[in-house]
């Protein structure tokens, strides 16, 4: 997560969107108001894993964005009326070695924003990749058959799993 970043030498290698938001200077009375033309905030709309109602949208957002930031971003920049926002931080999953199962690294944590649109508004996630349609029954059967043969092969050569398949 960008917020847990401490190593300043590596900072310049990071792209702008992954960098930590610079600290807002302390406002003293009479100072001119600081206006940010391009904040580090970003929001990525994602397809929900489970079914959600028409008036809800899900985003992955910059980890430092608060509920108020998300609401302002949508209402001021995109003119989308928002009723309510909830956020949740998800821990990154472990990246494991496939054969041995030990942990190699960890995926980055991410923050998700659940946005409820105002009354009367609705949104449907567009079908961006029409070519990637779900597999037909025939294709699904083939995949299952392949899995089955793979399993059978594993059971047959259970003592030689570490050896490449050509030498078994």
């Amino acid at each position: 997560m960008a917020s847990s970043l401490k190593d300043l030498r590596g900072l310049r290698l990071l792209p702008l969107w992954r960098r930590r938001v610079p600290r807002y200077p302390v406002y003293m009375n009479g100072d001119p108001q600081l206006r940010l033309t391009m904040p580090h905030f970003w929001m990525k709309m994602v397809r929900p894993e489970k079914e959600i109602p028409e008036n809800q949208v899900q985003f992955i957002v910059h980890p430092q964005m608060s509920v108020i930031d998300v609401k302002n971003y949508l209402e001021k920049v995109y003119k989308v009326p928002v009723l309510d926002v909830r956020t949740k931080v998800f821990a990154g999953k472990d990246i494991t070695q496939q054969a041995r199962g030990h942990v190699l690294a960890k995926e980055e944590d991410h923050k998700k924003a659940y946005v409820q649109l105002a009354d009367g508004e609705s949104f449907e996630f567009p079908d961006l990749f029409e070519e990637n349609k779900p597999a037909t029954e025939k294709q699904a059967k083939e995949v299952k058959k392949q899995e089955r043969t793979g399993l059978e092969d594993q059971r047959k050569h259970w003592d030689r799993l570490t050896i490449p398949t050509w030498f078994r």
């Binding site: 489970k50 079914e51 959600i52 109602p53 009723l83 909830r86 054969a99 041995r100």
Partner: protein, 481 residues
Amino acid sequence: MAATMRRLHICRRSLAYSQKRRSSVVSVERVAISNDEPNSLYPPIKTKYPPGTWGAMEPKYAWLWDKRREESLAIPDVQQRIAALCDKEMKHLVVKVKDERPRTLDFKKYITKTHVMPGLPETYRTAVDSSLLDELTALLSPLICDSIAVEMDQLQRRGYLKHFMKAGNHQESAAAHLLLRTILCSLSAQLSGQFPHLLTMQYDENVNLAATWDRHGIKRSRRRMVHPEWFTSDIVSDQRVKANTSADFVLRSDQPLPEFVSHDSGPSTGTEIPAINFAPHVYGQPMIPKEKSTVEAGYVCGDPCEFGLMSVLNTVWSHYSAEKYGENHAQDARLGQGVMSSFVWLAAQAHNQGFNTLVDMTYPLTTQTVLTDGQHWQFLAYQLNTMELWKDNEGNHRANLCWVSDEAKLYAEVVEGKVHGFNPDVLRQLIAFLALAPAERPYDLRPTLPPTGDEPKVREQYIPVKTEEVIVVEEEKYIVE
């Protein structure tokens, strides 16, 4: 090493599976139906489903529920029965009763299987004399106006107090609590001459209420493998639910209120609660890690007054919701609180009569709920028909019912110590709620429990009699030669 471990794991799993198959044979003997022939060589026949309606439930899962029900019925004591139900630590879906977030009303209706109807039930027209109500309203209106003026006067005089009172905060809630206490106490004192059940009722403040139950239609998050080809989530579609809240004022009596409609006909059986298509987290309802369930009805088990007459709920918290999301969403949030709170209280009362999520109710229980912040009043009448919510609509055709009146203002404003725009209709409805008398039911209220003469409410002598032991001292005899 890892591969060996995996092989070991597979061996252990297949062993466990074979043991499970053997144990299922044992269960056949337990619930077997005897053959017609007396000395038959064949084993007794087991029916596909246990007795009762089960809807689209898998037979194997239905038998499991039946087994759990019989285990619960075998416990003869109320407290032990509740303890057996709540003792196991398990994952719960926790329903927030006072939920500021919008659009959760449908979920709350579904989770309690409640059908909400506008208007109040007919019982208030037939059971309570309308001319007497009008008379009492006219008599008590000035008294209530005075008590409102007195409570508001302090706030009016000390103008600085308003700076502390933000929407839905503690100060505003405390002010409403004081006003409600004054109104309730003065009304119950004045009406007790006319309605004798108010003399024997119990009154309590800030009462904790909690209940637990299971609801059909919510898939479990964890997929547990039972067989190489199928998982628990394929047959299990219910979830243990838990809710706890607090009622600001509670009135209880020794007999239950009369039922509003019949248990087995009309809207109790003829309505279908629309299913929710989305997971609970969409409605902002969290799951908690393993924890024990709780059942609290606001009194110690065995209290002489075990049945609820009325509960008054403070809705000041929803002012914040109205400020943030709008008045429509705040109204829904308040109604959600009323529905959930009524259900939780009645379910907890039913637990103390021996019923629970496994042992379904044989008669309905009713209660009255008032939602108010001192100025805006809404009246709810709730009838709990069933607690067997883990069956689908086909398996259990009963639904719980809730009647809701429109929200109305008791007074418009208080200016210079005088109440303006007093609405006597609200006071009339409040008096009608207090006037509805509890009645003795013609059947046993604890049919699933054996009768015990040693209940605390029947007992007259609480301290056991101490029997004095008479010590006979024998004289020692000395033999003198």
